[in-house]
Amino acid sequence: MRSRLAIPALLALLALAFLASLAFGELRLSFDQVLSALLGGGDDIARTVVRDFRLPRALVGLAVGAALGASGVVMQAFFRNPLASPGLLGVSSGGALGAVAVLALGPMLGVAAATMWALPLASVIGAFAATGMVLMLAQRGAGTERLLLSGVALNALLGAGTSFLLTTTAGHFEVNAQILFWLMGGLESRSWEHVWMGVPPILLACLLLLPLGRAMNLLSLGEQSAQSLGVDVRRLRWQLIVLSTVLTALATAVAGIVGFVGLVVPHVLRLLFGPDHRRLLPYSMLGGAAFLLACDLITRTFPLGLRLGVVTSLIGGPFFLWLLRRPR
């Protein structure tokens, strides 16, 4: 497909999903009402709904989708394996365990007051610990089997830690409910606090990633040849691992575990527009944001109260199985 059309098409999709996120919900608003509410007009209820509830939710969703899409692209280039992604490798689980640890242990340790910053911080620490373990378990260029198996093991291990915390807090209904929120991911009741916590750092990390696309192209074709062609591979690897882990951790901190975005989005875009990371990075940020908002819309319009992480997994799981079956 013509890559010239990619940015306009993805931007249009994103704008559509974003506007729909502001319009749809229990209170159905027209696009006119949304626009006037955004500009400070319209009736009080519509204004409150749009500006205090839906706008922060949509902004968080946009940032989370962009973060997961970008970190998926980075991990695939880093491991030179198109099946690598933050969820499958266990980095998301690490971030969730960190967040859950703060939620579960915070009240006991009296850090509840600091929770707003403790949460993303713990998530970042947990995600970095998981990334460190992935790096030990699966060397770069590791075969698909080794990479995925170490992800299975790590996800099981971190999941066990999370389950343990879940059972120790079984008596505290509220804490338990919060933990479940992280495990199934979601954008409910995301406030402006979450926007300030997540959106600026995610945007910053995305901006820092964009100039690395060219070097990532070379890295994805082998570390030694990249080095011989003039890429400072050691430095690039550090940049990539730090930025992708931070992105995954921040996304997890504000929205819980939302799986498969980092796998599905880069894959589809790579099939459509080719593997050039200079383009794939921005495309995956836009595409990830649009995809996440669309999935969130499904959770809101579906009557059974589906969770966001459940929707992305329902889409991503079969897609992943299809990828595995596909001859490479």
Partner: protein, 240 residues
Amino acid sequence: MSSALHATDVAVSGRLEAVSLELGPGELVAVVGPNGAGKSTLIQALAGLLPARGSVHWNGQLLSRIAVAERGRRLAWVGQEALFEFAFPVREVVAQGRYAWGDDPAGVEEALATLDLVHLADRPVTRLSGGERHRAGLARALATGAPIQLWDEPVAQLDVRHALEVMRLARQLADGGGTVLVSLHDLRAAYRFDRVLVLDQGRLVGNGRPHEVLTAPLIRRVFRVEATFVESLVPELPKD
């Protein structure tokens, strides 16, 4: 003679033992040796792609003092395996050779033509055969315009004609003042080089003109085969 590449006691534990050598500009040099003799290790160490003891100088400058991007302009390396997991078009793979030049596209089309890849330029590199991928790797090295070229078994997977063309290219680069080091298994091909390095179990056991180094006793000792010097079929590129 000013040296383009100068190695002093280069060693990699378990693989290479204190190898010292000097390659000059305009030299076409072959490195031969049995499997596991350390050919690839030596080439990677000279290219600065492997932590090694000892010292390597490029044009009199200590390798560790040369910035990574500058290295990409001065030396090109082609590995034994062409790893291509992502479906970049061949032209893009070749253009990656220009990374260290800020992606200035000079020489990319010529490199494609030289390695007979023009008709494959828009094809995803993952759909090429092993030999074609190898030619893409060589074209990328050529596109760097680097005066020092290190090629690890560049012709092992190529058909007769393309192998001869690659050998002719190596000769042309050397004639143009470049330094070309090529690892090979074909001892008859090595005979046409200016100089031959023989590696055996990580040690440099031969370094000199082919007819002086590749003698029957050395071949027997290193490769454990008998060599007889007879006339035989010799494929050549047409003279046109």
